[in-house]
Symmetry: C2
Subunit: 195 residues, 2 copies
Protein backbone atom coordinates (compact mmCIF):
# COMPACT_ATOMS: atom_id res chain seq x y z
CA UNK A 1 0.00 0.00 0.00
CA UNK A 2 1.42 3.27 -1.08
CA UNK A 3 1.41 6.30 1.12
CA UNK A 4 -1.37 8.71 0.23
CA UNK A 5 0.00 11.72 2.11
CA UNK A 6 1.63 13.93 -0.49
CA UNK A 7 5.30 14.38 0.22
CA UNK A 8 5.97 18.04 0.87
CA UNK A 9 9.13 19.46 -0.53
CA UNK A 10 11.62 20.51 2.13
CA UNK A 11 10.87 24.12 1.32
CA UNK A 12 7.15 23.54 1.77
CA UNK A 13 7.87 21.79 5.08
CA UNK A 14 9.89 24.79 6.20
CA UNK A 15 7.06 27.16 5.27
CA UNK A 16 4.46 25.03 7.02
CA UNK A 17 6.43 24.56 10.20
CA UNK A 18 7.46 28.21 10.28
CA UNK A 19 3.84 29.26 9.80
CA UNK A 20 2.77 27.31 12.86
CA UNK A 21 5.65 28.76 14.92
CA UNK A 22 5.10 32.30 13.72
CA UNK A 23 1.45 32.02 14.67
CA UNK A 24 2.07 30.57 18.12
CA UNK A 25 5.07 32.62 19.21
CA UNK A 26 5.16 35.55 16.81
CA UNK A 27 7.65 36.18 14.00
CA UNK A 28 10.15 38.21 16.01
CA UNK A 29 10.18 35.76 18.91
CA UNK A 30 10.72 32.71 16.70
CA UNK A 31 14.36 31.85 16.06
CA UNK A 32 15.70 29.95 13.10
CA UNK A 33 17.16 27.47 15.58
CA UNK A 34 13.68 26.73 16.95
CA UNK A 35 12.45 26.27 13.42
CA UNK A 36 15.34 23.94 12.64
CA UNK A 37 14.68 21.91 15.80
CA UNK A 38 11.02 21.55 14.87
CA UNK A 39 12.12 20.22 11.49
CA UNK A 40 14.70 17.90 13.03
CA UNK A 41 17.67 19.49 11.25
CA UNK A 42 20.44 21.95 12.10
CA UNK A 43 19.93 25.70 11.82
CA UNK A 44 22.42 26.17 9.03
CA UNK A 45 20.73 23.57 6.88
CA UNK A 46 17.63 25.69 6.44
CA UNK A 47 19.55 28.11 4.28
CA UNK A 48 20.04 25.65 1.46
CA UNK A 49 16.28 25.98 0.87
CA UNK A 50 15.54 29.59 1.68
CA UNK A 51 17.47 32.84 1.56
CA UNK A 52 16.33 34.48 4.80
CA UNK A 53 13.85 34.37 7.66
CA UNK A 54 11.94 37.28 6.21
CA UNK A 55 11.58 35.48 2.90
CA UNK A 56 9.40 32.92 4.68
CA UNK A 57 7.21 35.65 6.18
CA UNK A 58 7.00 37.35 2.79
CA UNK A 59 5.83 34.16 1.12
CA UNK A 60 3.19 33.51 3.78
CA UNK A 61 1.79 37.04 3.74
CA UNK A 62 1.61 37.40 -0.04
CA UNK A 63 0.28 33.91 -0.61
CA UNK A 64 -2.60 34.64 1.72
CA UNK A 65 -3.14 38.06 0.18
CA UNK A 66 -3.48 36.24 -3.15
CA UNK A 67 -5.96 33.78 -1.71
CA UNK A 68 -8.14 36.48 -0.20
CA UNK A 69 -7.97 38.55 -3.38
CA UNK A 70 -8.80 35.59 -5.61
CA UNK A 71 -11.82 34.79 -3.44
CA UNK A 72 -13.03 38.34 -3.68
CA UNK A 73 -12.65 38.39 -7.46
CA UNK A 74 -14.54 35.13 -7.76
CA UNK A 75 -17.33 36.34 -5.46
CA UNK A 76 -17.84 39.50 -7.50
CA UNK A 77 -17.33 37.99 -10.93
CA UNK A 78 -21.04 37.58 -11.69
CA UNK A 79 -22.07 41.12 -12.53
CA UNK A 80 -25.71 40.12 -12.67
CA UNK A 81 -25.74 39.23 -8.97
CA UNK A 82 -26.93 41.87 -6.52
CA UNK A 83 -24.40 43.68 -4.38
CA UNK A 84 -25.83 41.94 -1.31
CA UNK A 85 -25.27 38.55 -2.92
CA UNK A 86 -21.75 39.46 -3.99
CA UNK A 87 -21.02 40.64 -0.45
CA UNK A 88 -22.32 37.45 1.10
CA UNK A 89 -20.25 35.38 -1.32
CA UNK A 90 -17.16 37.45 -0.58
CA UNK A 91 -17.60 36.96 3.17
CA UNK A 92 -18.10 33.24 2.66
CA UNK A 93 -14.89 33.04 0.67
CA UNK A 94 -12.98 35.03 3.27
CA UNK A 95 -14.24 32.79 6.08
CA UNK A 96 -13.27 29.70 4.09
CA UNK A 97 -9.71 30.93 3.64
CA UNK A 98 -9.46 31.80 7.33
CA UNK A 99 -10.63 28.35 8.32
CA UNK A 100 -8.82 26.32 5.70
CA UNK A 101 -5.49 28.07 6.17
CA UNK A 102 -5.83 29.10 9.79
CA UNK A 103 -2.19 29.36 10.84
CA UNK A 104 -1.16 31.28 7.74
CA UNK A 105 -4.19 33.54 8.09
CA UNK A 106 -3.20 34.58 11.58
CA UNK A 107 0.36 35.29 10.42
CA UNK A 108 -1.08 37.29 7.53
CA UNK A 109 -3.31 39.24 9.91
CA UNK A 110 -0.76 40.04 12.61
CA UNK A 111 2.85 39.52 11.51
CA UNK A 112 2.91 41.52 8.27
CA UNK A 113 4.33 44.53 10.11
CA UNK A 114 7.69 42.75 10.33
CA UNK A 115 8.05 42.91 6.57
CA UNK A 116 10.62 45.46 5.47
CA UNK A 117 10.30 47.85 2.57
CA UNK A 118 9.37 47.69 -0.20
CA UNK A 119 7.34 44.58 0.64
CA UNK A 120 5.62 46.35 3.51
CA UNK A 121 4.17 49.06 1.27
CA UNK A 122 3.10 46.53 -1.33
CA UNK A 123 1.34 44.54 1.32
CA UNK A 124 -0.45 47.56 2.75
CA UNK A 125 -1.62 48.55 -0.69
CA UNK A 126 -3.11 45.11 -1.28
CA UNK A 127 -4.88 45.23 2.05
CA UNK A 128 -6.17 48.71 1.38
CA UNK A 129 -7.57 47.67 -2.00
CA UNK A 130 -9.19 44.63 -0.45
CA UNK A 131 -10.90 46.66 2.23
CA UNK A 132 -11.92 49.32 -0.27
CA UNK A 133 -13.63 46.66 -2.38
CA UNK A 134 -15.72 45.61 0.61
CA UNK A 135 -16.66 49.20 1.40
CA UNK A 136 -17.65 49.60 -2.24
CA UNK A 137 -19.83 46.47 -2.12
CA UNK A 138 -21.56 47.71 1.02
CA UNK A 139 -22.08 51.16 -0.49
CA UNK A 140 -23.57 49.66 -3.64
CA UNK A 141 -25.87 47.47 -1.60
CA UNK A 142 -27.07 50.45 0.41
CA UNK A 143 -27.58 52.54 -2.70
CA UNK A 144 -29.57 49.78 -4.37
CA UNK A 145 -31.63 49.53 -1.19
CA UNK A 146 -30.63 45.88 -0.75
CA UNK A 147 -28.83 46.60 2.49
CA UNK A 148 -29.63 49.01 5.22
CA UNK A 149 -27.34 50.26 7.89
CA UNK A 150 -27.17 53.61 9.70
CA UNK A 151 -23.47 54.00 8.95
CA UNK A 152 -21.95 52.00 6.08
CA UNK A 153 -18.38 52.86 7.08
CA UNK A 154 -19.01 51.64 10.60
CA UNK A 155 -20.63 48.48 9.27
CA UNK A 156 -17.50 47.80 7.22
CA UNK A 157 -15.34 48.25 10.30
CA UNK A 158 -17.35 45.81 12.39
CA UNK A 159 -17.27 43.36 9.52
CA UNK A 160 -13.46 43.44 9.31
CA UNK A 161 -13.31 43.27 13.08
CA UNK A 162 -15.36 40.09 13.17
CA UNK A 163 -13.41 38.52 10.33
CA UNK A 164 -10.11 39.31 12.05
CA UNK A 165 -11.35 38.01 15.39
CA UNK A 166 -12.66 34.74 13.99
CA UNK A 167 -9.40 32.76 14.23
CA UNK A 168 -9.35 33.59 17.95
CA UNK A 169 -12.43 31.54 18.70
CA UNK A 170 -13.09 29.23 15.78
CA UNK A 171 -12.48 25.57 16.45
CA UNK A 172 -12.84 23.01 13.67
CA UNK A 173 -15.76 20.77 14.42
CA UNK A 174 -17.69 23.45 16.28
CA UNK A 175 -21.39 23.86 15.71
CA UNK A 176 -20.94 26.61 13.13
CA UNK A 177 -19.52 25.79 9.72
CA UNK A 178 -18.07 28.33 7.28
CA UNK A 179 -21.40 28.94 5.55
CA UNK A 180 -23.30 29.51 8.76
CA UNK A 181 -20.63 31.85 10.07
CA UNK A 182 -20.71 33.82 6.84
CA UNK A 183 -24.50 33.96 7.01
CA UNK A 184 -24.49 35.19 10.59
CA UNK A 185 -21.89 37.81 9.77
CA UNK A 186 -23.81 39.03 6.77
CA UNK A 187 -27.08 39.17 8.65
CA UNK A 188 -26.08 40.29 12.11
CA UNK A 189 -23.24 42.66 11.37
CA UNK A 190 -24.93 44.43 8.55
CA UNK A 191 -28.04 44.95 10.59
CA UNK A 192 -29.89 41.89 9.51
CA UNK A 193 -30.07 43.81 6.33
CA UNK A 194 -30.48 41.31 3.58
CA UNK A 195 -34.05 42.39 3.02
Amino acid sequence: METTAPTLSRKAQIDQTATALFRRRGYAATSMRELAAALGIEAGSIYSHIRSKEEILHRICFRLADEFMAGLRHATADASASAATQLRRAIESHVRVLIHDADASVVFLHEWRHLSEPALSEFLKLRHDYEAAYRELIARGVEADELQTPDPAFAALTLFASLTWLPNWYRPGGKLGPDQIAERLTDQLLGGLAK
Copy 2:
Protein backbone atom coordinates in the same frame (compact mmCIF):
# COMPACT_ATOMS: atom_id res chain seq x y z
CA MET B 1 4.08 80.95 35.25
CA GLU B 2 4.65 77.50 36.59
CA THR B 3 4.76 74.49 34.36
CA THR B 4 1.49 72.58 34.38
CA ALA B 5 2.79 69.39 32.84
CA PRO B 6 3.28 66.96 35.70
CA THR B 7 6.84 65.68 35.89
CA LEU B 8 6.80 61.96 35.31
CA SER B 9 9.10 59.87 37.41
CA ARG B 10 11.86 58.21 35.43
CA LYS B 11 10.12 54.89 35.93
CA ALA B 12 6.88 56.33 34.56
CA GLN B 13 8.79 57.76 31.59
CA ILE B 14 10.27 54.34 30.92
CA ASP B 15 6.83 52.73 31.03
CA GLN B 16 5.31 55.35 28.76
CA THR B 17 8.10 55.25 26.18
CA ALA B 18 8.22 51.47 26.25
CA THR B 19 4.45 51.32 25.77
CA ALA B 20 4.69 53.38 22.58
CA LEU B 21 7.56 51.24 21.28
CA PHE B 22 5.91 47.94 22.20
CA ARG B 23 2.81 49.06 20.36
CA ARG B 24 4.57 50.20 17.23
CA ARG B 25 7.18 47.47 16.84
CA GLY B 26 6.00 44.67 19.11
CA TYR B 27 7.45 43.56 22.45
CA ALA B 28 9.83 40.94 21.08
CA ALA B 29 11.17 43.23 18.35
CA THR B 30 11.83 46.12 20.73
CA SER B 31 15.30 46.13 22.30
CA MET B 32 16.25 47.75 25.55
CA ARG B 33 18.83 49.75 23.60
CA GLU B 34 16.09 51.23 21.42
CA LEU B 35 14.15 52.08 24.53
CA ALA B 36 17.21 53.69 26.09
CA ALA B 37 17.87 55.72 22.94
CA ALA B 38 14.28 56.95 22.91
CA LEU B 39 14.79 58.07 26.50
CA GLY B 40 18.14 59.67 25.74
CA ILE B 41 20.11 57.50 28.17
CA GLU B 42 22.32 54.43 27.97
CA ALA B 43 20.90 50.92 28.01
CA GLY B 44 22.43 49.95 31.33
CA SER B 45 20.90 52.95 33.05
CA ILE B 46 17.37 51.63 32.60
CA TYR B 47 18.07 48.90 35.11
CA SER B 48 18.39 51.26 38.05
CA HIS B 49 14.64 51.83 37.66
CA ILE B 50 13.29 48.48 36.56
CA ARG B 51 14.29 44.88 37.06
CA SER B 52 13.68 43.47 33.59
CA LYS B 53 12.11 44.09 30.20
CA GLU B 54 9.26 41.74 31.03
CA GLU B 55 8.50 43.66 34.19
CA ILE B 56 7.51 46.61 32.00
CA LEU B 57 5.21 44.44 29.92
CA HIS B 58 3.75 42.93 33.07
CA ARG B 59 2.98 46.35 34.51
CA ILE B 60 1.31 47.53 31.29
CA CYS B 61 -0.84 44.44 30.87
CA PHE B 62 -2.04 44.23 34.46
CA ARG B 63 -2.60 47.96 34.80
CA LEU B 64 -4.90 47.87 31.79
CA ALA B 65 -6.60 44.74 33.05
CA ASP B 66 -7.32 46.66 36.24
CA GLU B 67 -8.71 49.60 34.30
CA PHE B 68 -11.01 47.45 32.21
CA MET B 69 -12.14 45.50 35.27
CA ALA B 70 -12.78 48.63 37.31
CA GLY B 71 -14.88 50.06 34.48
CA LEU B 72 -16.90 46.90 34.29
CA ARG B 73 -17.53 46.87 38.03
CA HIS B 74 -18.60 50.48 37.96
CA ALA B 75 -20.93 49.90 35.02
CA THR B 76 -22.66 47.02 36.75
CA ALA B 77 -22.69 48.46 40.26
CA ASP B 78 -26.25 49.77 40.06
CA ALA B 79 -28.26 46.60 40.51
CA SER B 80 -31.49 48.42 39.78
CA ALA B 81 -30.37 49.19 36.22
CA SER B 82 -31.50 46.84 33.47
CA ALA B 83 -29.02 44.40 31.96
CA ALA B 84 -29.20 46.33 28.70
CA THR B 85 -28.27 49.55 30.49
CA GLN B 86 -25.43 47.88 32.37
CA LEU B 87 -24.15 46.45 29.10
CA ARG B 88 -24.24 49.81 27.37
CA ARG B 89 -22.40 51.41 30.28
CA ALA B 90 -19.81 48.64 30.28
CA ILE B 91 -19.17 49.11 26.56
CA GLU B 92 -18.89 52.86 27.04
CA SER B 93 -16.33 52.35 29.77
CA HIS B 94 -14.35 49.89 27.69
CA VAL B 95 -14.28 52.28 24.73
CA ARG B 96 -13.15 55.11 26.98
CA VAL B 97 -10.20 53.10 28.27
CA LEU B 98 -9.26 52.07 24.73
CA ILE B 99 -9.29 55.67 23.60
CA HIS B 100 -7.77 57.28 26.65
CA ASP B 101 -4.94 54.77 26.97
CA ALA B 102 -4.59 53.78 23.36
CA ASP B 103 -0.96 52.60 23.25
CA ALA B 104 -1.24 50.59 26.43
CA SER B 105 -4.53 49.11 25.27
CA VAL B 106 -2.96 47.77 22.12
CA VAL B 107 -0.08 46.28 24.11
CA PHE B 108 -2.64 44.76 26.48
CA LEU B 109 -4.58 43.32 23.55
CA HIS B 110 -1.70 41.85 21.56
CA GLU B 111 1.54 41.54 23.54
CA TRP B 112 0.30 39.66 26.62
CA ARG B 113 1.39 36.37 25.10
CA HIS B 114 5.01 37.28 25.79
CA LEU B 115 4.35 37.16 29.52
CA SER B 116 5.90 34.13 31.17
CA GLU B 117 4.30 31.97 33.81
CA PRO B 118 2.77 32.42 36.27
CA ALA B 119 1.80 35.90 35.03
CA LEU B 120 0.49 34.50 31.77
CA SER B 121 -2.05 32.26 33.48
CA GLU B 122 -3.13 35.05 35.81
CA PHE B 123 -3.63 37.32 32.86
CA LEU B 124 -5.66 34.78 30.93
CA LYS B 125 -7.88 34.18 33.94
CA LEU B 126 -8.60 37.89 34.24
CA ARG B 127 -9.46 38.10 30.57
CA HIS B 128 -11.66 35.06 30.79
CA ASP B 129 -13.56 36.49 33.74
CA TYR B 130 -13.98 39.79 31.94
CA GLU B 131 -15.39 38.14 28.84
CA ALA B 132 -17.61 35.88 30.93
CA ALA B 133 -19.12 38.92 32.63
CA TYR B 134 -20.06 40.35 29.23
CA ARG B 135 -21.61 37.07 28.13
CA GLU B 136 -23.55 37.00 31.39
CA LEU B 137 -24.82 40.53 30.83
CA ILE B 138 -25.94 39.67 27.33
CA ALA B 139 -27.64 36.49 28.54
CA ARG B 140 -29.47 38.37 31.27
CA GLY B 141 -30.60 40.99 28.78
CA VAL B 142 -31.92 38.33 26.45
CA GLU B 143 -33.69 36.51 29.27
CA ALA B 144 -35.31 39.73 30.47
CA ASP B 145 -36.38 40.34 26.88
CA GLU B 146 -34.49 43.63 26.85
CA LEU B 147 -32.14 42.43 24.14
CA GLN B 148 -32.77 40.18 21.21
CA THR B 149 -30.24 38.34 19.18
CA PRO B 150 -30.44 35.00 17.36
CA ASP B 151 -27.24 33.75 18.98
CA PRO B 152 -26.06 35.44 22.20
CA ALA B 153 -22.67 33.74 22.12
CA PHE B 154 -22.10 34.96 18.59
CA ALA B 155 -23.19 38.45 19.56
CA ALA B 156 -20.60 38.45 22.34
CA LEU B 157 -17.90 37.40 19.89
CA THR B 158 -18.71 40.16 17.43
CA LEU B 159 -18.75 42.63 20.30
CA PHE B 160 -15.25 41.66 21.47
CA ALA B 161 -14.13 41.67 17.86
CA SER B 162 -15.28 45.24 17.35
CA LEU B 163 -13.78 46.39 20.63
CA THR B 164 -10.44 44.80 19.77
CA TRP B 165 -10.47 46.25 16.27
CA LEU B 166 -11.28 49.78 17.39
CA PRO B 167 -7.68 50.93 18.04
CA ASN B 168 -6.90 49.98 14.44
CA TRP B 169 -9.11 52.67 12.98
CA TYR B 170 -9.92 55.17 15.71
CA ARG B 171 -8.28 58.56 15.34
CA PRO B 172 -8.73 61.20 18.02
CA GLY B 173 -10.76 64.03 16.63
CA GLY B 174 -12.73 61.85 14.23
CA LYS B 175 -16.44 62.32 13.86
CA LEU B 176 -17.34 59.64 16.38
CA GLY B 177 -16.67 60.20 20.09
CA PRO B 178 -16.52 57.47 22.73
CA ASP B 179 -20.22 57.70 23.55
CA GLN B 180 -21.35 57.52 19.97
CA ILE B 181 -19.06 54.58 19.27
CA ALA B 182 -20.40 52.78 22.33
CA GLU B 183 -23.95 53.51 21.22
CA ARG B 184 -23.34 52.22 17.72
CA LEU B 185 -21.71 49.09 19.07
CA THR B 186 -24.56 48.44 21.46
CA ASP B 187 -27.21 49.02 18.83
CA GLN B 188 -25.66 47.62 15.70
CA LEU B 189 -23.75 44.66 17.04
CA LEU B 190 -26.44 43.42 19.30
CA GLY B 191 -29.00 43.57 16.53
CA GLY B 192 -30.29 47.04 17.22
CA LEU B 193 -31.69 45.32 20.21
CA ALA B 194 -32.18 47.96 22.86
CA LYS B 195 -35.94 47.80 22.48
